[in-house]
């Protein structure tokens, strides 16, 4: 299993007056090469769950292993390194830096790895070509269309060739054709062997044939079918 969560709890502001129990007793396993959709309303804990799977923060308690590594035992620095090697993120609003060009945005994860400019350009060029936005590589991210932004964000998530792709509400701000296009790209990535976890309350995502499993999340718990 690429993702193994057992009895995972996440409490924000533990011990303070504003303490929040975001996740309670989460048990979830995701096999390598599969696509899982985490479905639930806003505030249900999907993004927190994605944050734990994405090694952004460790669980408060429970066992969380991503790619065979126990997150609770990893200091913050190693969580970052593990995240860099294992995970590609696609965000709700794509989170590209608007003043940087598409090429610069896509290659951002490579800078702290010490990858030289020529190799960065080469790797990004292949991805941008594959996602059909190579003609926009020198455009500032703030000046391209929503569909192009989406593809640039996917290219950035793939630049390190991570085995796990996490997408947080990726279709929330896209129209139906762009949402379909996004899922088509995800399906291709799954076919190429990537493991994909998508949080969404969009039926178009949950009902996509490439999605192997839909996991309902509400009030910080996984719904039992």
């Amino acid at each position: 299993m690429l993702i193994e969560l057992a009895g995972v709890n996440k409490i924000y502001n533990q011990g303070r007056a504003n303490q929040v129990q975001a996740l309670t007793d989460i048990n979830l396993t995701v096999a390598a090469g599969s696509m899982v959709c985490l479905q639930g309303p806003s505030g249900s804990g999907k993004s927190t769950l994605l944050g734990i799977i994405g090694c952004v923060f460790p669980p408060t308690s429970g066992r969380a292993a991503i790619g065979g590594k126990q997150l609770a035992r990893l200091p913050d620095r190693f969580l970052t390194i593990h995240r860099r090697q294992m995970i590609g993120f696609i965000f709700q609003r794509f989170n590209l830096l608007s003043q940087l060009s598409v090429l610069e945005n896509v290659t951002l994860p490579l800078l702290p790895l010490g990858v030289g400019p020529r190799q960065r350009r080469q790797r990004a060029g292949i991805l941008l070509e594959r996602l059909a936005i190579s003609h926009r590589e020198n455009f500032p991210a703030g000046s391209i269309s929503g569909g192009e932004l989406q593809r640039a964000a996917i290219a950035r998530a793939l630049i390190n060739d991570p085995p796990l792709i996490l997408a947080d509400e990726p279709t929330a701000h896209l129209d139906t054709p762009l949402s379909r296009e996004f899922m088509a790209i995800m399906a291709d990535l799954k076919a190429a062997g990537k493991t994909i976890v998508i949080t969404s309350h969009d039926p178009l995502v949950a009902q996509h044939p490439a999605v192997d499993r839909v996991v309902g999340v509400s009030d910080g718990r996984i719904d039992v079918p």
Partner: protein, 407 residues
């Protein structure tokens, strides 16, 4: 290439691009910081050059000066006092000197008039080295050497006039004796610019001419200059002289040097406090600027962190940015300061540092730039800026990565 080095180059490249993206904010910091460094560096260059100039000029002055005091006031000293000191071992020569201040009403300027006898002075033959042009007054009467400022003020040329010179003779000028009669003097030399600090307002002439101008009898002088064989004995000899001549004030060269140091020290200290206050204000401003992360900057940090950038990487980028701004400001500030001192004669600091004379000495200072001075300036300016920006930068770099998940 080594990947660690490549990583540093990548981060440096990102820092440069980031500076360019926020060019308005960064250029305003750069301009203010350059101005602060320019002021501090200019001031340092000027005070260093002035102190050195004063020291160089004072090296030509007598080791001991004796002045007669009466009821706390200085008055003319009998030349015969010198004979009482002849039995003191260690004295090379005692030379009378006549000097005084002369107020030139038409020009509203004070001159310092000095009467010496170079032939009687042990270093007399070296006095010519202080001149830019001409010669020291010889045995002929009514000749003078003037400072550059006086030459300019009175539009004097240096005698002797040649046959080609137009009439009237531009080397001549006149001063009033106490009885209002005129004493005509011919300019035979001009002091070098390097000595301008002390000679700009000086008119030097023979002892007899000075006595004639001030109407001082031949057996009196303003003070007596004592030259000694061993400079290490100056203080001892001064003490002995004071004991032999209890109605005199005995001034030593180290005391005069100390007075100059105190004068410059007080002035430079005062200005330094003002400049350091400006520097402190800038550092507080830099701290404030670096502390206030805009929502856009906060978002950028969160995105970079979630993309796998470590806190150390972000800190390094911000440090590169601060270092680039600081180094640019340092180089620009120091260069402008040098230009200000050398080509604009330190126009901003002249009133602060050389304000005791009506005729301000013109500056011809060529500041010596030494590595230790540059290091001192670097420590005084760049390090406080880096310190003021690194701590807020660290606070900014610890923005949690999950912020990027929230929109």
């Amino acid at each position: 290439m080594n990947s660690a080095l490549e990583k540093q180059l990548n981060l440096l490249d990102y820092a440069l691009a980031s500076l360019w993206r926020r060019r308005l904010k960064n250029s305003s910091v750069l301009v203010v910081f350059t101005a602060v460094i320019f002021l501090v560096a200019s001031f340092h260059l000027v005070t260093t050059a002035l102190t050195e100039t004063a020291g160089a000029v004072l090296r030509q002055t007598p080791e001991i000066v004796i002045q007669k005091m009466s009821a706390g006031r200085q008055e003319a000293i009998p030349v015969a006092y010198g004979e009482q000191l002849s039995r003191l071992f260690g004295i090379k020569k005692i030379v009378p000197r006549v000097w005084g201040y002369y107020f030139d009403e038409p020009f509203q300027a004070n001159y310092t008039v000095l009467g010496v006898d170079p032939a009687a002075m042990p270093m007399g033959e070296h006095l010519v080295q202080t001149l830019l042009a001409g010669a020291w007054p010889g045995s002929a009467a009514n000749q003078a050497v003037v400072g550059g400022a006086i030459r300019e003020l009175l539009a004097l040329s240096v005698a002797p006039p040649t046959v080609e010179d137009d009439f009237p003779d531009h080397s001549l000028f006149a001063l009033h004796r106490p009885d209002r009669s005129l004493k005509l003097l011919s300019t035979v030399g001009v002091f070098r610019d390097e000595t301008a600090l002390l000679t700009a307002d000086l008119i030097a002439m023979s002892l007899a001419d000075a006595r004639d101008l001030f109407q001082i009898p031949a057996d009196l002088a303003t003070d007596l200059c004592v030259y000694v064989h061993n400079p290490a004995e100056i203080t001892n000899l001064a003490r002995k002289i004071a004991a032999i001549l209890p109605d005199t004030r005995v001034l030593t060269r180290p005391q005069i040097e100390q007075t100059y140091r105190v004068v410059f020290g007080w002035r430079s200290g005062f200005a330094a406090v003002c400049l350091l206050a400006a520097l402190a204000a800038f550092v507080i401003l830099a701290w404030d600027k670096a502390s206030g992360l805009s929502p856009e900057e906060r978002r950028e940090i969160a995105i970079l962190k979630i993309l796998g950038w470590e806190t150390a990487d972000l800190l390094l980028v911000r440090c590169w940015e601060a270092l680039i701004v600081a180094l640019l400001a340092f180089v620009a500030g120091c260069t402008l300061a040098w230009l200000h001192v050398v080509f604009f004669e330190a126009a901003l600091f002249r009133p602060v540092l050389v304000g005791w004379s009506v005729i301000h000495p013109p500056f011809a200072l060529t500041p010596r730039i030494e590595v230790k001075d540059l290091l001192l300036l670097f420590v005084l300016t760049v390090l406080p800026y880096l310190a003021a920006t690194v701590i807020p930068t660290w606070r900014g770099a610890v923005v949690p990565a999950e912020d990027a998940l929230n929109g």
